[in-house]
């Protein structure tokens, strides 16, 4: 996606020069507040919207060039799940899952078997004959996922797929999405306004604000060293920035430790060597997709503080 603009009216554009590249097989997060342009962006990827300018390339196809049946064929490879599920209330669970297959012109004889496989995959085989109104939110989203998988897509777009769900259900849906990525090699693009979703699910993330990408990179980098004001604000909302606001008279540093360093007495060792006393102002262990990261906000007093900082930087990442 390169220099993409999209306007809905004469005022503020919904997207103002977006550059993004998503790698095959990764889970890519797009986070931003409501109205940031996330849904617009993701709808460009299956041609529900068209860019005013710039290029959008999906799976090697330039979205500006496709229309009609070529676009419909592409859409089968790029499926989508929605915040409010988008299920047809007039059709049973099995009929909902069968719909994309019917539209794709699949062999009628094979549809039932395929639908049963998909419902097994999402754990809803016993609900095949029920109507969506008889299901819980989490179950509805599982139907949405089964339906999205029906045409064996390469790319799955999730637009606020868990935003209508409670935390426990959210966790199970996120786990299911992660499984699909691992087992089917699906490339997944996750739209959300919740940092927690990005933390648990995504490899990389882009922060969208007023139609612009203000920051993008590895999830753990963005969490620990957010460069943009907007990213920090999102982290603060999620209580994930480690700064709990305890006043400390001396020098304050933020430290992130990963892997082996988390299991070692890093602080006491450095304290002994440099004579610096550490006060833990805030601490948090974050479980990322790539592994766990410990985040600490430390107050420094006495000793050789520069040497302590250098030693900390050896063990993990440091930000003042």
């Amino acid at each position: 996606m390169h220099r993409v603009y999209k306007h809905f009216g004469p005022d503020q554009p919904a997207l103002a020069g977006v550059d993004l590249a998503v790698t095959h097989g990764e889970i890519f997060g797009i986070i931003g507040r409501s109205g940031a342009g996330k849904s617009t962006l993701v709808r460009l990827l299956n041609g529900l919207e068209r860019a005013d300018s710039g290029t959008v390339i999906v799976d090697g196809v330039d979205m500006a060039d496709v229309s009609g049946s070529a676009l419909r064929t592409l859409r089968r490879r790029v499926q989508m799940i929605f915040q409010n599920f988008g299920l047809l209330s007039s059709r049973t669970v099995a009929q909902n899952v069968a719909l994309p297959l019917r539209i794709a012109g699949a062999d009628l004889a094979g549809i039932d078997g395929r639908v049963a496989d998909l419902l097994h995959r999402v754990g809803l085989i016993d609900y095949a004959g029920k109507y969506p109104s008889q299901l819980s939110g989490g179950q509805k989203q599982r139907v949405g996922i089964a339906r999205a998988l029906a045409t064996a897509p390469d790319i799955l777009l999730c637009d606020e797929a868990t935003s209508a769900l409670d935390p426990e259900t959210t966790a199970s849906i996120l786990a299911l999405i992660a499984d699909l990525n691992r087992e089917l090699g699906l490339t997944i693009i996750v739209i959300t306004h919740e940092m927690d979703v990005v933390r648990q699910l995504c490899d990389r993330v882009a922060v969208l604000h007023n139609g612009r990408v203000v920051e993008s990179g590895l999830v753990s980098d963005i969490f620990f060293t957010p460069a943009a004001q907007e990213t920090r604000a999102l982290l603060t909302d999620a209580g994930a920035d480690g700064a709990m606001g305890i006043a400390f008279p001396g020098r304050v540093v933020h430290l992130a430790l990963e892997g082996e360093a988390l299991a070692e007495p890093v602080l006491t060792r450095i304290a002994r060597a440099t004579g610096v006393d550490f006060t833990i102002l805030a601490s948090r262990i974050g479980h990322f997709r790539a592994g766990s990261v410990g985040q600490f906000t430390l107050g420094l007093s006495g000793g050789d503080q520069d040497a302590a900082l250098a030693a900390l930087a050896d063990q993990g990442r440091v930000r003042e």
């Binding site: 529900l48 419909r72 047809l88 007039s90 059709r91 719909l99 794709a104 109104s133």
Partner: protein, 221 residues
Amino acid sequence: MTGVSGNLYWSEISRASLETLAMLGGSLALTILFGLPLGILLFLTSPGQPWASRAASGLLGFAVNLLRAVPFIILLIVMIPLTVLLVGTSLGVLGAIPPLVVGAAPFFARLVETALREVDRSTVQAVQAMGATTRELVLLALLPEALPGIVAGITITAITLVSFTAMAGVVGAGGLGDLAIRFGYQRFQTDVMIVTVVLLLLLVQCLQMMGDRLVRYFSHR
């Protein structure tokens, strides 16, 4: 006053009832036949929909509004030449059907349009995102999802048609409305008037009950 106990009246009343039912059935069927596609077109050509077109939607909307603005009694009269052209007569059950359809189809089309608009947006998007053509979108998603709303619209339209048939009676269409006017109003036979009104009321009640039942049957929300 001899009133409705006379055989003459009962046979008149049953004949008039059958005429009303025939007018209602014929005009309702044709109203659905013309109104449903018109309603779908109104929806599809409106902004943000697959066939969005300012010109088409403006033109259709204007035609529909025009027909809906004309009072039905006026429509009955100005339609006479066209009715004669279409069905060969402007009298009787047959002569009543063209103005009834022209009066009710635009109304029904608006009800269809509204029912389609109520279909959940993300459902429509989901089906489009599956790679559906507009035809598939309408047949596989929009109409089934809007069916309860459309059936409710048919009920309202049928009941409106009942009162239209009574008005059509004035210009020689026959039916219960005609009876009420000729006997009840012009000859001051209040009992005939009361019987026709009771029959019309029964008809309306039946239609509403059947409609409500069907809506419940089709609704899985």
